[in-house]
Amino acid sequence: MGDRSVTIAIPVHNGANYLGEAIESALCQGHPETEIIIVDDGSDDDGQTLAVARAFGDRIRILQQPNEGVAVALNTALACASGRLFSWLSHDDLFEPGKTERQVQILDTLNRDDVCLFSDLSWIDASGHITGEQRLNLAMLARNPRLAFYEGLINGCTILAARDLLLRVGGFDARYPHTQDYRMWWRLTREAHFVHVPHCLLRSRLHPDQGSHRHDALSENRAFWSDVLDETSEVEAAMVDGSRERFLRRTGGFLRYRSPNRRVADRADLTAQSCAAEASVSVVIDVGSDLEAARRTIDSVEGQTRLPNEMILVGDASILHALGRDGACHRVLRPTQKRQIPTRLRYGLTATRGGYVALLMAPDVFAPEKIARQVARMSALGCLASHSSYCSGGETVATGSFGGRVYPEIVGDCHVEISTVMIHRILFLSGLLFMDEDAPLASNWIEVAARHEWLGLEEPLSVIEAPRAPEEMAPLLTWLRASAQHRHHAAQMGRLERRLAGTLTPSTHGKDERDAGASRPMRALAEGSYAAA
């Protein structure tokens, strides 16, 4: 068989009632290079199942094994298959005509061996009548592909994947006779891509004899979802739902309402309640050049109502040495001679372990409630980036009302101050922050806004000695003009130009504030930041 060859494996145990239909539906696939393997998993029905299979002659291959379960039967088929691609059909289900051709065509187009296709399906009753359909949201799954696994949307008999891929992730785990498929999808979710094909390619039969309804199957299912809750990392949870808390709440909802796992759902909800308090937090501090100011900055972190798990101190070696490693929370020293702030922050961020990372530039300081409040809000809402209002020169600068989907408005009015920012670490892991050492800081906040929501906290949670946003307008404008992605937002660019002119000639402030493109809160923000400046 060539590269487009497909093996359809049909494991069966005492399945004479439906096996013939299943084999017929596999034989009806028009794909020319198709091999059909029936694995008789120790049927003890006086040869009825084998008789059904043998009636198809040499059009199918029949393998026999002692009764060891579906996982072992599928592994037997994987080991003996000659097709490069592999699909699985339960003996009581039916492939729709054209399933294999359609999926092979998609895999051909993608030309990758790390893709596992799955599809929509229709439900049939014991007599084969269609009783309903499961059609999934293609756009939602394209933007959040891991949801397919975490929402239990993958039916094993709709898949088509490279056989080598399934073998590479270890095949089906024989220790789990009822959840071997979902344990395989879990590994595949981490090692490969699940891609949804938006067509009903399978008729899945619901009937009273199904093994999945038995007590031992339900208890194994509970154990599986408990493992999923425990072993999904903070980063993985944030990829799917923005935070571990949101992940647990959504998974809890799924387990409660769409699966027979209420006990695990209760555990998910309970764990979610303490998620924010238990989330790991790092603070990256650029210590600057003034030792005393750096001490005040660090003191403000060590005086938090909720201490971070670690502080990453970045700066000159002499200052770091003077600050030392000892303190109320774990300190990591990252000496550098680099002067560019993005480079220093990047250097600090590479050392962080926390799920949430607060950024702080000496001589700015945190309000005592800063970490507790910001983490709690980000965790509850599943936001990956947040900032807050701040105090400067004895006044409150109400930048915290600037939040939500702020792109492209942020191009013209970026009021995010570095010492008010807290991010989820996956933003840094995605390569979105501080990769260009010459770009202004605001460019990073714009890049974030183009892809994610900004959470704004209205309470002032930082004290900033000298806001950097007004100083950054000129370099930001230069950066935006060179940016193919952002420069076409002419109205916002124009507003930034006028604001820049306004800072140079105070008489133009009124014009800027009357700017038709600026919303009322934005004008308030602009007034606030000028007052602060």
């Binding site: 891509h193 938006p198 980063v235 050392a351 372990r353 892991l429 390569g431």
Partner: protein, 150 residues
């Protein structure tokens, strides 16, 4: 008309059999009636022609409409297929980005671990250097000798 003829016509009307003059093809319809019938026939033919023409127009426009609908459906199918292909590509791109994040996570963890190990080694090295020259050396030599002879 003679009485005999009149009676014959009356009988014919009652029995629906033609009279002799009718059977002989003698015209009994008046010229006015004939003209009226001709007019009716003409009008009917004219209206039939108009109806045929309208039908032809309708058939033609229907064919055009059917062709247009078919073309729209084909375009729509193509667009749906393109959207599906684009969403599949998006799914792959998002998946790639997420796997890159996980890879970065593993790399940074390994980097942090190695840096911590290096920092520990440097601390130990500094501690060893700070010890008096005579106190630590014999133990090190003993270990080295043991490792070579054992």
């Amino acid at each position: 008309m003679p009485l005999r003829d009149l009676l014959q016509r009356g009988r014919a009307l009652l029995t629906r059999s033609p009279t002799e003059d009718e059977a002989a093809g003698i015209a009994v319809t008046s010229a006015a009636d004939c003209e009226a019938i001709e007019g009716l026939l003409h009008e009917t033919q004219r209206r039939l022609a108009v109806a045929d023409q309208r039908l032809a127009i309708l058939e033609s426009s229907n064919r055009t409409a059917v062709r247009a609908v078919r073309r729209f459906l084909q375009d729509r199918e193509r667009l749906v297929a393109e959207r599906e292909a684009a969403l599949i590509q998006l799914s792959i791109a998002v998946g790639d980005r997420q796997r890159t994040m996980m890879l970065n996570e593993h790399l940074l963890t390994a980097l942090r671990d190695s840096e911590e190990a290096r920092a520990r080694l440097e601390d130990e090295k500094r501690d060893l250097r700070q010890q008096p020259a005579g106190s630590g050396t014999p133990a090190v030599l003993t270990v080295e000798a043991g490792s070579f002879t054992g």
